[in-house]
């Protein structure tokens, strides 16, 4: 056995290959010490060395579920790399599962925090994530299908679903797509998202990424399919609709009216962040007669010192705010507060006093930035962040009527999207948990 392994792992110095002898039996053993943990001592070395009893050792090999016969030499390399110990006694090869678990505690939510909901989040370890999920979705029908993806990273992923609720058509579509994936390195959930969506140049996300086990449980109950990936804190949920991206987990825990109010507020926020900069240009440069006279004068008065057309102003301010957002994400946490203070000062006061932008524009910029962050899902928030630029451009060319026409086109675009064959932006579909088995009928609105 050792010869074969040594041939496969030539010059790999951190692989331990040895023939040990306790005086009764010689044993060939091979494993990566860095991938295996202390369990190898109690599970293998102690019974083999000073507590050795041939009968007991044989019994252990046969009865302990961690020992599996591994006679196929093709599997050996893979097993070693996954953290198994390979051993050969009495002419038979066994594998012993002793992979190191790096994570022993659930993570805390960082991207999707909730006020009243649970604070635990997925970790970067797939077994821990399975545990978190099984605890919350505790039924025998929860099915897991393991896959290995990435020809170099060999990342293990799990496809999870409730086999009584899942739509088999979508499941088969997903299996097909997973089989067709050719990927070198699968390091983050986002790269799997990219592979699973048909077109990479898509504006809006059609697969939901979440770090919250409770959200995954809620989605499983709705018959969705979940993919968890080893080494990623995020689970993928599909198929989803636009409204799932606008859904914060607090909505499940808050009282009815608060929930409604917050939902309406989020949609108003998304609308404002897309429309406001464009309508500023349209109103100032194209159709000032739309607003009542007093308001039009106020806006124009605040722009009195600004020496260039409104779209330049808008681009300047939007660039500043985007740069500020980007900087505060990338900066180390210690310097982060400095950036926001400096940026806030410039945006808030100096730019306006210097006569570079109007004070109304500063209000608009902050409203745009703030209402962008109201969106609970970071993926969707980014998409919306980008959406305001086409509107700014069309407002430069056509004024307010162009904005309305583009809004129409955006609505059609959203209705046009499909997430695994399911409509992305269709209202009032029958709720899936009202249906015992949601077949393909769900799509037929």
């Amino acid at each position: 056995m050792l010869e074969t392994i040594k041939r496969q792992f030539e010059n790999v110095t951190d692989l331990l290959t040895e023939t040990v002898d306790n005086g009764f039996w010689p044993m060939e053993i091979a494993y990566f010490p860095s991938l295996c943990d202390e369990r190898i001592k109690d599970g293998l070395l102690v019974p083999y060395s000073y507590r050795f009893d041939p009968d007991e050792f044989r019994r252990m090999l046969r009865s302990n579920p961690k020992y599996v016969e591994a006679e196929d030499p093709k599997q050996w390399a893979n097993l070693l790399l996954k953290g198994f110990v390979l051993l050969k006694v009495e002419g038979k090869c066994y594998s012993f599962k002793s992979d190191r678990t790096l994570v022993t505690e659930p993570g805390t939510t960082e991207v999707e925090s909730a006020v009243l909901g649970p604070q635990s989040a997925f970790t970067e370890d797939i077994t821990m994530n399975m545990a978190l999920l099984r605890l919350r979705y505790n039924v025998p029908t929860l099915t897991a299908e393991p896959y290995d993806k990435g020809s170099y990273s060999n990342t293990s992923i799990m496809v999870l679903y409730d086999r009584e609720l899942v739509n088999p058509v979508i499941l088969n579509m997903l299996r097909d797509k997973l089989d067709r994936i050719r990927l070198d390195l699968l390091l983050a959930s986002s790269s799997l998202v990219k592979e699973l969506t048909d077109r990479n140049h898509r504006l809006f996300p059609t697969i939901l990424q979440t770090e919250r086990p409770d959200r995954v449980a809620v989605m499983l109950r709705k018959g969705k399919i979940v993919i968890i990936i080893n080494g990623s804190r995020f689970a993928l949920i599909l198929p989803v609709r636009l409204f799932d991206f606008m859904h914060a987990m607090d909505d499940e825990y808050d009282s009815y009216w608060i929930n409604r109010f917050l939902n309406v507020m989020r949609y108003v926020g998304i609308w404002m962040t897309i429309i406001l900069p464009a309508s500023y240009i349209a109103i100032v440069s194209y159709n000032p007669e739309i607003f009542r006279v007093q308001l039009a004068f106020t806006i124009d008065g605040s722009r009195a010192g600004v020496p260039y057309p409104s779209f330049v102003e808008v681009f300047v301010m939007l660039f500043m705010i985007e740069a500020l957002i980007e900087a505060s994400i990338r900066l180390p946490r210690i310097v982060g507060s400095t950036a926001t203070t400096v940026g806030g000062l410039i945006l808030g006061q100096a730019a306006q006093q210097a006569g570079l932008v109007s004070s109304i524009m500063i209000i608009i910029t902050s409203v745009v930035a703030i209402s962008n962050f109201v969106i609970p899902n970071p993926d969707f928030s980014q998409a919306v962040r980008l959406m305001k630029y086409p509107f700014v451009v069309i407002a430069m060319l056509y004024g307010i009527s162009g904005v309305v026409v583009l809004f129409f086109a955006l609505m059609v675009y959203l209705c046009n999207l499909r997430s695994f064959g399911e409509p992305y932006f269709a209202l009032f579909l029958p709720r899936s948990h009202d249906l015992p088995n949601q077949g393909t009928k769900l799509g037929k609105g």
């Binding site: 308001l295 129409f408 059609v412 046009n416 209202l427």
Partner: protein, 379 residues
């Protein structure tokens, strides 16, 4: 799902303003417009009722599929081509009317073709999508438009400047004989059910379209509003002075609280959405008719991504729109609208007759097949 059907009924009822229905009626307001409206309510309701019921007998089939199944190929081809012309023209007319409205009231300095380009581009983009996408979009856009529609309607009806006497006076002309022009104009308001010629594909078998009272109630309401409200604002005589009557009428109203002062702008923004919905829908229907001319065409109401042929057909509609805009002036335009309205009304009757015929043929076939089966069982 019957609610999608009613969205079509509602927005087609509302779009009548862009197809110069009120203008046509005002020209005949002393010569039978009111009586034409009364007759149109009766005829429109009956036609809507029977056509809808007949379409439900052919589940998941568009008109072109039905005709293909029951008529020889030549006739089917003719029906498809005529359908495509009528529907394609509807979109062209509305896009043209709307962009000239916008040019008058919103961007008078802008090159008219520039705005037409934007409108046709949006119409092409919408029309190339698959039928199901268009249905979803209708629902979203109708819901977004509803508050604006309600606001304008309430503003108009409860406005102190609305002269109810003028309305009463024009109502007095109910006994004059209606003309074909005004009748076909008034019938257009009820034409929303005609969208079933394509969208019947999305209605699965055994669906019942309930609450059909919505068609007469809402469409008559829209008809009365678009006719009587301008009369109430401008008087029985003055109302015929304007070509874009409804834009002027909405400009007679103001909003005292809020950012926007003149209702005109709300009205124009609302009709941007409605006109685009109408264009999207009619061009899509015309496109499906043209695609159905191909002998090996199989309908795919839920298709993603769409085929390239969709783009070519709708882009040709856009090009035709430009050609029409270059040709048209106000007189020619009025003539086209009125002839289109008349042709459309006739086509509606033809569609009804086709459906009745197909219905009887299908019943006879079914009966004979049942008879054969029972005969086979007995022997």
């Amino acid at each position: 799902m019957s609610r999608y059907f009613y969205y079509h009924v509602l927005y087609v009822g509302l779009i009548n303003i862009m197809i110069f229905v009120p203008w046509t009626l005002f020209q005949n307001r002393f010569h039978g417009a009111v009586s034409a409206m009364a007759i149109a309510i009766v005829i429109g309701t009956i036609m809507a009722w029977t056509t809808t019921s007949l379409f439900l007998r052919f589940p998941e089939m568009a008109l072109s599929d039905i005709v293909k199944a029951y008529f020889p190929r030549g006739i089917a081809l003719i029906v498809n081509v005529i359908g495509a012309i009528i529907w394609g023209f509807a979109g062209i007319l509305v896009v043209y009317a709307y962009s000239s409205t916008i040019q008058q009231f919103f961007n008078p300095d802008m090159n008219p073709y520039l705005f037409l380009l934007l409108m046709t581009a949006a119409g092409v983009w919408g029309a190339t999508r698959c039928s199901r996408t268009i249905q979803f979009a209708h629902e979203v856009l109708m819901l977004l438009c509803t508050p604006l529609i309600l606001m304008i309607l309430f503003k108009a009806i409860f406005s102190p400047w609305l002269d109810w006497d003028a309305i009463r006076v024009s109502l007095g002309y109910v006994r004059t004989r209606p003309s074909l022009n005004s009748l076909s104009a008034a019938l257009f308001v009820f034409a929303g059910y005609n969208t079933l010629v394509i969208f019947n594909r999305l209605i699965p078998a055994n669906t019942k379209i309930r609450q059909r009272w919505i068609i007469p109630v809402f469409c008559s309401f829209f008809l009365f509003v678009s006719f009587f409200i301008p009369i109430g604002f401008h008087g029985t005589v003055g109302v015929a002075d304007y070509l874009y009557v409804w834009s002027i009428t909405s400009d007679s109203m103001i909003m005292q609280y809020g950012f926007v002062y003149r209702v005109l702008y709300v009205f124009l923004l609302l009709y941007t959405a409605l006109s685009l919905m109408f264009t999207m829908n009619t061009w899509h229907t015309a496109m499906e008719f043209i695609k159905a001319c191909h002998p090996r065409y199989t309908p795919q109401p839920d298709q993603y991504p769409v085929k390239a042929v969709n783009w070519w057909i709708t882009i040709s509609f856009a090009v035709l729109t430009f050609a029409y805009a270059a040709w048209a002036n106000d007189q020619r335009n009025q003539l086209t609208y009125q002839s289109w309205l008349i042709v459309r009304s006739i086509s509606e009757v033809v569609v009804l007759l086709i459906l009745v015929w197909c219905f009887f043929v299908s019943r006879r076939k079914r009966r004979s097949s049942i008879r054969q089966q029972t005969a086979a069982q007995n022997s």
